[in-house]
Structure formats: structure tokens, C-alpha cells
């Protein structure tokens, strides 16, 4: 459809798109050869000019991040590819791994050349079966061809790439949790500074980038920063993969230029809400960002600045669409259970805060809450933001505060009725019906 712009996802539909031969037929790996003939500083500069921002959630400018790595370092430098994809509602990296792993490998080669890195690790979430096998096969193919290993592409540049499997812990997606995990420890985040660019994995300067970020690099180097900037907005250039889930007609991954109206994605590309229902709410960037009401969502554009202006964040682009049949208290309860489970426990506000939130929201959902609970939740979330080692604490607090603030009426109805008002038309039955429509 017209709204889509397929730069990173252009090969998704090709037969056996994950194989080397398919990738090379489409012109793959030519950009790596081109980049290896460029001055590394010029590669970084091109990425800086493109305005590419990290697609893992924080949106940090990629070229600038590479620039933080010291040019001269006594210890080896490393690249960590973040393929841990565990943010609820997010599944776009899985598509990039399953359908175009060679594009990622090419991005790794170019990035490593630009920063002067000879060892890269791809940290893949442990639950991934097919994406892991496809990626491993692609890495093996690239080694067999001499694209990886000593004298990459016949140049003097050596690059080793190792796939490292995680084992089920959301916190290992956080960059320093990932580093700890890669070192063979529990994935408990580190206090920053020092930032990974200065002291990262194995004591060396380390670039941590998301799969989608690195997958965008070949296109940028091939076509130039100006061409990339011709998509998206002035401050949010380029395209972004959105993974859309929930009761829309066509859930899935869509690559669109940043700045696209949210309505276009939900109502045109995804075909709107199933069964002719209305959207009640929208979580645009993965479960950790503040929720939008229908009105807010319908007025928002999908770029970093517009979503910030709407009081939320672009995050990972994992959009969860919520329809009118959904109980918002139940939905929040599910999210709070997740964060309480995933807190690594190092910081008191996070360990205790996520546990309290889980308990309070679950009690409200069951009809056992009191009118003071909503304010209690808001006061707890206040103390959880900006007080901890990593931002998992904020990631739990922000949705909680936004749900309670924007859908307070639903929380109050639970207290007033002493039960979930949606249970008379139970969510269970609603959801079961929805399945039958499908």
C-alpha cells in the first residue's frame, strides 16, 4: 500500500530471502565492499548525516554513539548486536532476522569497519528458534565466502562474528544487562557512567546497537544520507518498522516513513479494528511507553517529536492496539505482572515498586481495591522514575501512571462495583468471540 516505504524490508517477499544467493541477487554485500574502500570516519559521518536514531527504544543518534568510542584504545573494541527483542508488543527484529539476516550481517561489517571493531557478538533472545537458525546459517555462509573472518572481502580487515544465545530474561535487552550476560553473569544492569562506548564488554569500548538500527546502515551507505533524509521528517528522518498487534484486521510488521499519521497505520494498513469495534486506546511504542486515549492516538503522528508532544514515546515501535471491549484495569494488571517478574531486584524502588504496583492493580482488578489506591499508585510511580540503575523501573511506572490518569473512571468503577464491570460481558467471552470472527 502507498503509505509503506520498503527500504529495510524490501527483500521480505523474495523467495528464500534469508539465503546468501537471494541476498546477492538483489545486490547485497556490494555496499560492504564499497564501505571497506571508504575512510572509516567518512562512513560514520554519513550515518551521522542521515540522522539515523537507535531503533531499540531509546532513539539515541547512531552516528554520535559510534563517535563516542575512543579512536585509540589499548583494549579491543566490541560490537554487541541487540537481538534480545523482548519488549511486549515488539516483533520487528524477528522479521529482520528471519527474512533478511544477511542485511544485518552487512550492517555489522560496515559498522565494525567504521568504528575499528574486530569482534562482534549477536545476542539473540533464547526463545527464538527459526530466527536463530536462519541467522546462524547466514553467518556460516558469510564465513564460507570469506566475508567474515580474517581478511573480510579480501581486504586487510578482520572481523569475527559470534552468535550468543540468551536464556529468557527481559532485562538482558538493556544494554549493560546484555553486556553482563554476555560476560557469563546474571544480566544485572551496571551503573553508568562509564558508558559502554568507553568501558563495555570484557572491559573494552563497546557499541551496542539494535538489529533494526544496524540493518538500516547498508541502505544509508549505499544511497547516501540525503536519500535517507528524503523519507520521514526533519528531526526524525528515514523509515521505521512498526509491529502492530491486538485486535486489528491485519496485525504484522509495517515499514513506514517516520511522521506517518498513526491513523493511517491503524485504519488503512492494518485494516482497522476487527468486528467493526472502536479503538479505545493505543500503546504506540512497546509496553513500556505511556498509553494514549483514542483521541490522542488519532491526532498523533509516528515520529519521535510528535509522540513526545502527545506525552508518550516512539520506543521500539511495538504498537498495541486496544479495543472498546477491553478492561483497562485488567490490561494494566497484565503489564504490571510482567515488570514485577522481570525486575532484576538490584534497586529498591524498582524491586519493591513493581511488586506493589502488581499487587495494587491486581486487587483493583479483582474488585477488592479502595478509592485511595489510585493515588497510591500515582505516588509510587512518582518515586520509581529516575531513581534507579536502569530504566526498567520507569518502564513499569510510566504505563501505570498513564493508565490510572487517563482511564481513572474504569478504575473507580471497579472499586464502586466491587468487581470488574467488564466481567458481566466477560473479557474472556469477548475475546473468545473475537477469535471466532477471525
Amino acid at each position: 500500500m502507498a503509505a509503506e516505504v520498503k527500504l529495510l524490508s524490501r527483500n521480505f517477499g523474495s523467495p528464500e530471502s534469508w539465503t546468501l544467493s537471494s541476498y546477492e541477487r538483489a545486490g547485497g554485500y556490494r555496499t560492504a565492499v564499497k564501505a571497506l574502500r571508504m575512510d572509516p570516519a567518512a562512513v560514520t559521518e554519513e550515518v551521522k548525516q542521515s540522522g539515523l536514531r537507535g531503533r531499540g527504544g531509546a532513539g539515541f543518534p547512531t552516528g554520535m554513539k559510534w563517535g563516542f568510542v575512543p579512536k585509540d584504545s589499548n583494549s579491543p573494541k566490541y560490537l554487541c548486536v541487540n537481538a534480545d527483542e523482548s519488549e511486549p508488543g515488539t516483533f520487528k527484529d524477528r522479521y529482520l532476522l528471519e527474512l533478511d539476516p544477511h542485511q544485518l550481517i552487512e550492517g555489522i561489517v560496515i559498522t565494525s569497519w567504521a568504528v575499528g571493531i574486530h569482534r562482534a557478538y549477536i545476542y539473540v533472545r533464547g526463545e527464538f528458534g527459526l530466527p536463530y537458525h536462519r541467522l546462524q546459517a547466514a553467518v556460516d555462509e558469510a564465513y564460507a565466502k570469506g566475508y567474515l573472518g580474517p581478511r573480510s572481502f579480501g581486504t586487510a580487515f578482520d572481523l569475527d562474528v559470534t552468535i550468543h544465545r540468551g536464556a529468557g530474561a527481559y532485562i538482558c535487552g538493556e544494554e549493560t544487562g546484555l553486556i553482563e550476560s554476555l560476560e557469563g553473569k546474571p544480566g544485572r544492569p551496571r551503573i553508568k557512567p562509564p558508558f559502554p562506548a568507553v568501558v563495555g564488554v570484557f572491559g573494552g569500548p563497546t557499541v551496542v546497537n539494535n538489529v533494526e538500527t544496524l540493518s538500516a546502515v547498508p541502505w544509508i551507505i549505499e544511497n547516501g544520507a540525503a536519500a535517507y533524509r528524503s523519507y520521514g521528517t526533519e528531526k526524525s528522518p528515514g523509515t521505521k518498522l512498526f509491529s502492530v498487534s491486538g485486535p486489528v484486521a491485519r496485525p504484522g510488521v509495517y515499514e513506514v516513513p517516520l511522521g506517518l499519521p498513526l491513523k493511517t497505520l491503524v485504519y488503512d494498513l492494518c485494516g482497522g479494528i476487527r468486528g467493526g469495534k472502536a479503538m479505545k486506546a493505543n500503546i504506540p511504542g512497546g509496553s513500556s511507553v505511556p498509553v494514549l486515549t483514542r483521541e490522542e492516538a488519532e491526532g498523533a503522528d509516528l515520529d519521535y517529536e510528535s509522540l513526545a508532544a502527545a506525552g508518550t514515546m516512539l520506543g521500539s515501535g511495538g504498537m498495541i492496539v486496544i479495543d472498546e471491549e477491553t478492561c483497562m484495569v485488567r490490561a494494566l494488571s497484565t503489564l504490571m505482572k510482567f515488570y514485577a517478574h522481570e525486575s532484576c531486584g538490584q534497586c529498591t524502588p524498582c524491586r519493591e515498586g513493581t511488586g506493589w504496583l502488581r499487587g495494587l492493580v491486581a486487587r483493583l482488578e479483582a474488585g477488592g481495591g479502595s478509592p485511595a489506591d489510585m493515588d497510591k499508585i500515582l505516588s509510587i510511580t512518582n518515586r520509581m522514575i529516575g531513581t534507579t540503575i536502569c530504566v526498567l523501573s520507569d518502564a513499569a511506572a510510566m504505563p501505570a501512571a498513564s493508565f490510572v490518569t487517563k482511564f481513572r473512571g474504569e478504575f473507580e468503577r471497579h472499586v464502586g462495583a466491587g468487581r470488574c464491570p467488564f466481567r458481566s460481558d466477560p473479557l474472556l467471552a469477548g475475546a473468545a468471540r473475537r477469535q471466532d470472527h477471525a
Partner: protein, 191 residues
């Protein structure tokens, strides 16, 4: 070798379930092929310690779970105290410290799946298997667990069978999936 504190036997599955390999009288050891892989593994990292996760995966891929004595074996190879290796095993939810069924069924009940009927699907699973999350069916074919978002939300509601995603599933689809797995096991003479 027990340098770490032992917990209450009633709550510690590794104490309740003695390692079947030990029971069979086989000392747990790596095969020659595994020894090769370990050598290659160790060459990929600047520290031995970094090979802990991949080595634990090797063990789990072979045995289906991680017996307690394997943890000591890994610790020894990686040059860390067993307590450290045990701390790693217990931090990560995917490392299983007790044997389970032949197939691992993981149902996602996070938000996108919940919106599409995961609770109902979990009820169907309970009914069809006669077990709840955390339990293994009497015939030893299935272990059921409830998990968080599997990054497969477009297939919601999703069930992961071993390392494959299946969805969207309704009760009928679930029945077909389970029947297929049972038929395969019967053909292979497992039940």
C-alpha cells in the same frame, strides 16, 4: 562438591529429583564431539567465563534440562566457582532445573495475546491436558508453562512448542496441534 548453601529440600527441585544420569550410574561428561565444540566455543571469547551460557545450552539441548552436577562441570570448565554458575542458571528462566515432558508448551499471556484470547486458550489447554502451568502431563508428553511476550504478537494468541511458534490458535487449532504431537509420539513408540 557443595560450596553453595543448600536450600530447603522441599522447595529445591534439584534435591527432590536426583539426576537420572547419576541414577543410571553414568558420570555426567561431555562427549568427544561436545569437547570439540567447547574448544571452539572458548576460542570465541576473551574470557572462559563468557562460555557459561553456551555450555549450559549444550547441556540442556542434550538432556532437556540441567542436572545439578552439570552445573559444577560447567563451572570447572569456565574457571568460576560452582556458586557463580548456579547463580547464572537460576537467573535465567529458560534453564530448567528439573526434567520435564517430551514437549515444552509455552503459552504467552502477555497483553497482545491476552487481547486476542490467551486466557480462554489457557483454559482450553488445561482442559485438554489436565494440567496447569508448571506441571507435566502424566503421560510425560507435555510440560505446560505460562510465559511473557514471545515477540510473536502478530500470531496472538501464541503457543510455543519447543522452539516453534504456533498461532493464532483457537480451541480447535489447539486440538489439532496436540493430536499431531501425540500421533508423532505414538508412531515413534513413545507412548
Amino acid at each position: 562438591m557443595q560450596p553453595f548453601e543448600r536450600s530447603d529440600p522441599a522447595h529445591d527441585p534439584t534435591l527432590r529429583d536426583p539426576c537420572p544420569l547419576r541414577r543410571l550410574g553414568h558420570p555426567l561428561a561431555f562427549s568427544a564431539e561436545e569437547e570439540d565444540r567447547i574448544e571452539r566455543l572458548l576460542s570465541r571469547y576473551p574470557t572462559r567465563e563468557a562460555a557459561i551460557l553456551p555450555m549450559l545450552w549444550m547441556i540442556q539441548d542434550r538432556h532437556g534440562w540441567i542436572p545439578e552436577e552439570a552445573v559444577s562441570l560447567v563451572a570447572e570448565r569456565c574457571g568460576v566457582p560452582p556458586s557463580h554458575a548456579y547463580g547464572v542458571v537460576s537467573f535465567y528462566t529458560m534453564f530448567r532445573r528439573e526434567p520435564g515432558g517430551r514437549h515444552q508448551l509455552q503459552i504467552c499471556t502477555n497483553l497482545s495475546c491476552q487481547l486476542m484470547g490467551a486466557e480462554h486458550l489457557l483454559d482450553c489447554l488445561r482442559r485438554r491436558l489436565g494440567i496447569g502451568p508448571g506441571e507435566t502431563a502424566a503421560d510425560g508428553l507435555f510440560t505446560l508453562n505460562e510465559v511473557e511476550c514471545l515477540a510473536a504478537c502478530e500470531m496472538a494468541p501464541v503457543v510455543q512448542v519447543d522452539d516453534e511458534f504456533h498461532g493464532p490458535l483457537d480451541d480447535r487449532g489447539l486440538g489439532e496441534l496436540l493430536d499431531g504431537l501425540r500421533a508423532r509420539a505414538a508412531k515413534e513408540g513413545r507412548i
